[in-house]
Symmetry: C2
Subunit: 207 residues, 2 copies
Amino acid sequence: MSQSPEHQGAGPSSSEETPADARTRLITAAIEAFAAKGFHGTTTRDIAAAAGMSPAAVYVHHRSKEELLYLISRRGHESTLRLVREAAASRDDPAERLVAVVRTFVAHHARGHTSARIVNYELSALSPEHQRDIADLRRSTHDEMHRLVQAGVDAGVFDTPAPRMTTLALLSLQIDLARWYRDEGEWTPDEIADHYCELALRMVGAR
Amino acid sequence: MSQSPEHQGAGPSSSEETPADARTRLITAAIEAFAAKGFHGTTTRDIAAAAGMSPAAVYVHHRSKEELLYLISRRGHESTLRLVREAAASRDDPAERLVAVVRTFVAHHARGHTSARIVNYELSALSPEHQRDIADLRRSTHDEMHRLVQAGVDAGVFDTPAPRMTTLALLSLQIDLARWYRDEGEWTPDEIADHYCELALRMVGAR
């Protein structure tokens, strides 16, 4: 949360807060709680307290803790997919397109590492149906990456004997970043993005 | 478990089973249970049932579910560190040494992906003291990798502007493999190891 409810003076019964605002406030509180204590270690009561609401009020907006996790996860995966697609569409040259996508993905994952970590590592806590939804989104992101690697190979500007395995390796770099990245670390998201673009070009064998 | 207790005919009171055997059997059962249901979704009763023991018998051998997770995690990290050190010591040439280490690490992580996944993704369920122990082992593995990348740069046979970040990227490839690898997938551990050795040489800029 950027501000605590006390500072805002906005409790659950505030006349200025819309239901959409309340849902956003709950999601922000849930991200913090899941990041601090893990999904299984977090109670609905913890989330309610962090959002300045009563536990009963949480259920007005969200059916369960699992639904909050699903919303966080879907939102995270949708925004990654959208950014990857926008970056891929912004360039025609395969190498420039790869750099645009890796730069966007890395900077996004570094800046949003708290929710990215939840989104990547608490998937098993989702219901089977929600896991399938998220798997579809992940597959779409994978397919975008694979298409751009393959396009470079087809155009003769990338040289890799296994484009699909190289795609998985590129995704590993970007996904695992959320595990090791620290805000207080020595590199900024942009510095990491610069280096990872260079690594990605080497991995695909860009000429 | 390679064989169920029924097939072995070895229950908790078997006169042929030593306490060490029983502990190993419990650890194997715990790996399966944690992999299937997650650490938080697994009860001591689940582990006991999978090992063909009574819940009370579990406590004879291990103080808690957390202790079992710690033993699995310590064993996994120790074996990775040992394999990395052995591989690094087996060659003098920096590029050959990198290939030996990556090949060993990748094949080990692919073959042991079930426990590798638990070892990597349930760290937050460990006690603070146990987390520190594991963090020390992870740091030692990181330092081995960093030393071999830096040695290649110092010898003028690797060319990377950021050896430490490149080291983290190499570790990401190897760690994240445990997340995506499937036994029924299209590549064998050795095929992945071959390709990842090539990727690693490109990433460090081997001449």
